[in-house]
């Protein structure tokens, strides 16, 4: 008997054991995190959702997690470890875990996998993500109204569709609020690196930006804005409330708790199915943090109205007429973008300067 059959045997034994004890054994949910749980942003919110799961289910669930897991071979091992340890469902919370998740899922057909922000599914691999671009529209509106220099600085992480969507959505709505507005995008090539993020914010402020929008996870850009004075920013992934009322004038909060609870419940009920979930403000996966008193009342009102219309489905942040950066037509009057185009978005809309690094 070689090692692989041994592995399969162990998996089978665990699977059987899991079924046999389904009544009194708690469901075990594993979480693979890309950053430290104290990052104050992306991973922090996933961990908050994990804690919400524990609170909701009490003794019926047991959660395990591993933080700061590098994407690639290490991730594969971390997932295998959890699956061998008896996890029933494993949430892998970063785009780079896509291939490792698929690989491990093949070896453990009885374990359910949930991969965040990816596009590869399997019978036991579901994907989920949030429509952060809906929140970006509101940030864009506030940025356009608030800027005095007409220069908005944008800290991008990586030039991937999710980030490009956010830039486009923020720009479209900033431009509507203030036709004079200009965006300056810098790429930090990291999701979480306070030193690099602070440098990026500093550089943008020196170039005249008085609003900073960030698509990176630490609070360093807000700290830089606070130090510069007269510069505002937004909480990213998490509320970042400690920078209220200014520089943090609002925030996009990722709320994964309802989804995690729903999916774990499905495992308990035996009704779990693979699929792709992409929720926004309406179902509550994306929340807009309190708009502080640093924002004039009428701007706040306008922002909240925009939020309402997005939540109700009455308005789509990508509604034509919209052209691509090169001037070619993208959406006709009244036409809205389809999810396929949004998922693979690799172009700027008309008016944005600079190129997407390639």
């Amino acid at each position: 008997m070689n090692r692989r059959t041994l592995l399969a045997g162990a998996v089978l034994a665990l699977g059987l054991a899991g079924q046999g004890m389904a009544q009194d054994e708690p469901v075990k949910a594993g979480f693979i995190f890309v950053g430290p749980i104290g990052d104050g942003g992306w991973t922090y919110e996933h961990n908050q959702a994990r804690l919400a799961v524990e609170e909701h289910f009490g003794d019926k669930v047991e959660t395990v997690f591993q933080e700061s897991v590098p994407e690639g071979a290490d991730a594969e091992r971390a997932m295998t470890q959890m699956a061998l340890g008896g996890a029933d469902i494993i949430f892998t919370t970063s785009f780079g875990y896509m291939d490792p998740t698929i690989n491990v899922a093949k070896k453990f057909p009885d374990v359910k996998f949930e991969h965040a922000t990816g596009y590869k599914q399997a019978d036991n691999v579901a994907t989920y993500s949030a429509r952060f671009y809906e929140g970006r529209a509101i940030e864009g509106l506030i940025a356009g109204k608030m800027t005095k220099t007409n220069k908005v600085g944008y800290i991008g992480s990586f030039p991937i569709p999710e980030v490009i969507r956010g830039i486009n959505s923020a720009y479209i709505h900033a431009k509507k609020a203030n036709p004079e507005v200009e965006f300056n995008v810098v790429w930090a090539y990291t999701w979480f690196d306070p030193a690099k993020e602070a440098d990026a914010a500093q550089a943008l402020i020196e170039q005249g930006a008085d609003v900073i929008i960030q698509h990176t996870d630490s609070t360093a850009p807000l700290a830089a804005a606070e130090k510069a004075g007269d510069v505002i920013g937004f909480g990213q992934a998490s509320d970042m409330a400690e920078y209220k009322p200014s520089p943090r004038v609002s925030s996009i909060i990722d709320n994964w708790a309802p989804y995690y609870i729903e999916r774990i419940q499905a495992v308990m009920d035996g009704t779990w199915e693979s699929g792709n979930t992409w929720d926004g403000i309406g179902p509550g996966m994306v929340e807009i943090g309190e708009i502080t008193e640093a924002v004039p009342a009428e701007v706040k009102e306008e922002a909240l109205a925009l939020k309402e219309s997005i939540a109700s489905g009455e308005y789509h942040p990508f509604t034509g007429p919209l052209n691509k950066q090169d001037g070619s037509a993208w959406l006709a009057e009244g036409e809205t973008a389809d999810d396929g185009t949004l998922a693979g978005m690799d172009f700027y809309v008309e008016g944005l300067t600079g190129e997407i690094p390639n």
Binding site: R4, L7, R77, A78, T80, L84, D99, M345
Partner: protein
């Protein structure tokens, strides 16, 4: 009580200090775990014992090799330079460049199937890529006397930027829906560096690491070049009088380290990692520096140190997910290992004298 320099480094202490450092790490680490409200003995057992002898050892033993392979391969190369007083801190960059060059060769042939030719070419390209990247600090040092520590370290950041660029441009998967990252080499049979025997973790990178250990041992113990390397490190003036050309030693040591690091990168990208991505590198090049010193710059020592370091990684991960220990505490544990090694090293070069002593 005072320290007295030994006329010669103690051979006994050279062998004892790594073991002592491990024991001290377990002790202080245990205290730290206790302070974190984790049963210390259980934590130590999970990290140092379970991966090798525990319930799931059949899986972890293979993973130990996967993790130790690149560490050993890189550390062997570094140790040659360190012995000669040439401080290549940029193995991480050489590792990245090797991976990029090797993967690029493989991807260039996609989807042609000819493993007998493609895989060896990739290994060659990987080694060359790392070698070329290491030649930059080597040539600058030989020609202009620049500091190889700074140059090689800075080139890591250049390599990282290059990695980000190719994963979004030159090597981007055309079927990847616009997301950065290359095709997955694991799914391309002619280029994949699969396990040689399923479940053992033994891939070509591990084989290469073992060969490197043997070659380094023979080189240092039996070969004139090895003698010259040691002489340059221990007595540079004597080396010069003996006709050793420093430039040759510099080029040889940096070149070998670069080539080995580059190959390690190729084996990793074609095997366990699978694809070139923006953050493909995960610090092997830096950790290998610790491994080289923990192994006393001796090939066999490095072999053992690489396995030990891999154990702290794998056991550390297990401790995180089963005992809920924070990731940072595992990094602290690994840091302690080097710290205690350097601290106990004092006894290798010095002895403790109590009282007045003989010296007037």
């Amino acid at each position: 009580m005072r320290l007295e320099k030994r006329p010669q480094p103690s051979r006994l202490w050279t062998a004892v200090t790594p073991v002592l450092a491990v024991l001290l790490t377990m002790l202080v680490g245990g205290i730290m775990f206790a302070l974190l409200d984790t049963p210390p003995l259980e934590a130590i057992r999970t990290i140092f014992w379970d991966p090798v002898f525990g319930e799931f050892a059949f899986y972890y033993r293979g993973q130990l090799l996967v993790k130790a392979g690149p560490l050993i391969l890189i550390a062997i190369g570094l140790s040659l330079g360190f012995r000669a007083g040439i401080w290549n801190i940029g193995a991480e960059g050489q590792y990245i460049m090797g991976a990029i060059c090797g993967a690029a060769v493989g991807l260039a042939f996609y989807p042609m199937e000819a493993r007998w030719m493609i895989f060896p070419l990739m290994v060659l390209a990987g080694g060359l890529g790392g070698w070329a990247w290491a030649m930059i600090p080597a040539v600058l040092k030989v020609r202009f006397g620049t500091n190889e520590i700074l140059v090689s370290l800075m080139l890591v950041y250049v390599a990282e930027a290059f990695l980000a660029s190719v994963s979004q441009g030159l090597l981007k998967n055309p079927e990847g829906m616009g997301f950065p990252g290359s095709r997955n080499l694991q799914q391309y049979p002619s280029a994949a560096n699969h396990e040689l025997i399923a479940g053992t973790g033994m891939h070509w990178g591990v084989v290469a690491a073992l060969i490197a250990v043997i070659f380094a041992y023979v080189l240092l113990a039996r070969h004139l070049q090895g003698f010259n390397i040691r002489l340059t490190g221990e007595a540079p003036r004597a080396a010069r009088f003996a006709g050793v050309q420093p430039a040759r030693i510099i080029v040889f040591c940096l070149g070998t380290a670069g080539a080995l690091a580059g190959m390690a990168g190729l084996f990793e990208v074609a095997g366990p990692a699978g694809q070139i991505t923006i953050d493909f590198n995960s610090g092997y090049g830096f950790t290998a520096i610790i491994v080289a010193f923990l192994g006393r710059l001796h090939p066999v020592g490095i072999l053992l140190a690489g396995l030990l370091m891999a154990l702290t990684y794998i056991g550390g991960e297990a401790a995180q997910s089963t005992l809920g220990l924070p990731g940072a505490s595992i990094q602290l544990l690994q840091g302690m290992l080097l710290f205690f090694l350097l601290a106990t090293d004092v006894f290798t070069n010095y002895r403790i004298r109590i009282g007045q002593g003989a010296r007037a």
